[in-house]
Amino acid sequence: MNPEYVVMIVNLVIWTGIFLYLWRTDKAVKKLKQEIEELHLTEKLD
């Protein structure tokens, strides 16, 4: 296989990993925000 394609695939894998990490973190933050909103501590939110 052309080494350029190998580097491209490695880049795509790294980007996918970063994206999935950010997605999961974002989901966790949103869940926490929802839980705090349910506790009526939302004066400072939005």
Binding site: L12, W15, F19, D26, V29, I36, L41, K44, L45
Partner: protein, 226 residues
């Protein structure tokens, strides 16, 4: 940020990676194989400047309103700014190795980013040196505003005053962008999608900081009640 935007971001940046490797032509004279770094190095440097600008804006907002939330926003913006400045330095350094033969040459561009890293590094030293919250926020806000004044000078002015090996003045002697159509498409798409990534990162960190502050206030109130 909505799910749709995140999916667009993922597909967009994936297509930019593919475009940079297999679609956009290489610059044949100076950069050759290493043209590709350009599609990532410049957007990363752009995001770094954007973060520092937003940090200066929130520092100003803090000084105007004395709301500690703005101080927290300025802090996270500077944190992310310094992270992207390091990424720009690392990608630039790799580029320097392949085009100039060594990772670090003390070229005006490299020297200016190094000084910028020191200036913003000092911002965090200052924050950790002051214990009193209000005082720390006030000093950090003033410092952040002053630090941002140096950003245009170090990023745009210094490398243009002195002769630099950096491809920007070498390729664009007339100050024009000499890129082929496909190179332009990949480059400007990369700038746009990196900006979307910036918006997502910053929004996420802002929400985190807000939640931290709410929980802290809640704990403090609860302790007072007890």
């Amino acid at each position: 940020m909505s799910k749709l935007w995140k999916i667009i971001l993922y597909i967009g940046l994936s297509l930019i990676i593919i475009g940079a490797f297999v679609w956009a032509p290489l610059e044949p004279k100076i950069l050759k194989e290493y043209t590709r770094i350009f599609y990532f190095h410049v957007p990363v440097a752009w995001i770094c400047v954007l973060f520092f600008l937003i940090a200066a804006y929130y520092s100003f907002q803090f000084l105007r309103t004395k709301d500690l939330l703005y101080d927290a926003y300025a802090k996270i913006s500077n944190e992310l700014g310094i992270l992207f400045a390091i990424l720009a330095t690392v990608t630039g350094s790799i580029w320097a190795k392949v085009t100039w033969g060594s990772f670090w040459n003390w070229d005006p561009r490299e020297t200016s980013i190094f000084i910028l890293l020191l200036i913003y590094g000092a911002y965090f030293s200052l924050r950790s040196a002051v214990e009193q919250e209000d005082r720390r926020a006030r000093l950090a806000a003033v410092y952040s505003l002053l630090a941002f004044v140096t950003v245009p000078f170090f990023v745009f002015v210094v490398p243009r005053i002195y002769f630099s090996l950096h491809p920007d003045p070498v390729i664009n002697t007339q100050g024009k962008i000499h890129l082929e159509l496909r190179q332009r498409v990949v480059f400007f798409s990369s700038l746009i999608f990196h900006t979307v990534l910036y918006l997502w990162l910053f929004q996420m960190r802002k929400t985190q900081v807000k939640l931290q502050m709410i929980l802290r206030l809640y704990k403090e109130n609860k302790m007072l009640e007890e």
